[in-house]
């Protein structure tokens, strides 16, 4: 509440100095949007722990490449859509989405496309005052040579990890949650699109079904902000509907003791447990359609 009042006071002072200059709607929206929202009742530490759990979207991109599915730019959010994003809420979600798209282009070695995404990411990051994490010169240098793919992947992954840590330390974890939600949704969108094109690929369907576990975490994270942020409240309502679809899927696990061997000083575990995802094609279609709707609503 205190920060809201300070923000509003700053806004009044800013425009009281020049009574002739009327603020534009965009300026008003920008200032109000930059006012920190009230912190959620839940501790930052708990939020940070849940954020840490969410798997990197890179894992899905890697799966798609390993499944020998072709690179398809049409599944990604066009970097030119950047002009659609005007509020911190839009920008944080878009940053997560573009982050996943960048990872996808990286995994497939599409460095020219990666550059377009890097530019969009840098611009959004600057707007959110987190541009300092992107040494765009180094990143571009790495991106122009496919031999540097591992370094590029490493540096961008590290940057996104650093951004999340920084936002949490700055008590702006709402942006971190949005970044993560956008990134996860985009990965789910891409795998859904690829699965739709390759209906015979059971592994892709299973990957969609497994997202039930992550869905629960993302919905939980958003729920912490619904009372303080109307934009997040709207988003959380849509995610909640998606969660209902995921709840129709059942994951059965059979636990068996693991076995071990030591190879070159490393403990190599043999996981003897197994799991089965019980779902129908109708479940996948419903989830897919809902994901398309939510994601397209965000990017446009």
């Amino acid at each position: 509440m205190k920060s809201t009042l300070i923000g509003l006071f700053g806004f009044l002072v800013l425009f009281a100095c020049d009574s002739k200059k009327k603020p534009s709607a965009e300026e008003i929206s920008g200032v109000l949007d930059s006012v920190k929202i009230e912190e959620p009742a839940i501790s930052e530490e708990v939020i940070s722990d849940i954020i840490q759990q969410i798997p990197s979207p890179l894992e899905i991109s890697t799966l798609l490449k390993e499944a020998e599915t072709k690179y398809d730019k049409s599944h990604l959010n066009d970097p030119e859509n950047i002009s659609n994003y005007n509020t911190n809420f839009d920008k944080a979600l878009a940053l997560g989405i573009y982050g996943t798209d960048l990872g996808y282009t990286n995994i497939y070695g599409q460095n020219q496309d990666a550059l377009f995404y890097l530019n969009a990411i840098k611009s959004l990051a600057d707007d959110l005052s987190i541009g300092q994490f992107f040494d765009i010169g180094t990143i571009k240098r790495l991106a122009t040579n496919s031999k540097n793919l591992d370094s590029l992947l490493l540096i961008t992954t590290k940057n996104f990890n650093s951004i999340n840590a920084y936002l949490q330390s700055q008590k702006r974890s709402n942006l971190s949650v949005l970044l993560l939600s956008g990134g996860w949704l985009e990965a789910l969108y891409i795998v859904s699109k690829v699965s739709e094109k390759n209906p015979e690929n059971e592994q892709l369907k299973e990957t969609i079904g497994e997202q039930k576990i992550i869905m629960d975490n993302v919905a939980l994270l958003l729920s912490f902000y619904v009372n303080n942020d109307p934009n997040i409240k709207d988003l959380a309502a849509k995610f909640s509907q998606l969660q209902e679809e995921f709840n129709k899927i059942e994951i059965k696990t059979v636990y068996r003791e693991p076995t071990y061997e030591v190879v070159d000083g490393m403990l190599v575990v043999k996981d003897n447990s197994s799991s089965e995802i019980i779902m129908t094609d109708e479940n996948i279609v419903s989830i897919r359609n809902m994901v398309y709707e939510i994601r397209n609503n965000i990017i446009n």
Binding site: Q53, L63, T157, N217, Y260, L267, N272
Partner: protein, 142 residues
Amino acid sequence: MKKLIFALGIILVTSTLNQAVAQCNTEKYIEACIPKLQEGFTFLKSYNIDGEGGAKNKVEYSYVFTKGATYQILICNDGQSTDGIVLTLYDSNRKAVASTKYQGSTLSAIAFPCQVTGIYYITYTFEGSSNYCGGSVLGFKR
């Protein structure tokens, strides 16, 4: 008054010394750790292991591991040593899956080919550690 100033001075010096002892630069260990991921593994996360000079006996993180992926977790300290840092991996039911303390020796890494998607807890404890400080990285491959 003199006594009061003296007492305050002692408190200040002790607190500064404590801070100096507790300072733990995990970043240098993490930087050294990333290149140690085996070929084919992609870096995912880095973890600070800061036992605050012994004030904490456990540092824990969690991550959703995905069925079909192999994860590698490395502990890094000075040289090849782990300085008594033990990594234990627990599944979502808090059942221990693996530990670097294995058959009397303390290893520095775990490779885990995951068969059940779920939340896993990555826990670091200290056994005879001198600095209570280290770094760790998580990588994966398909």
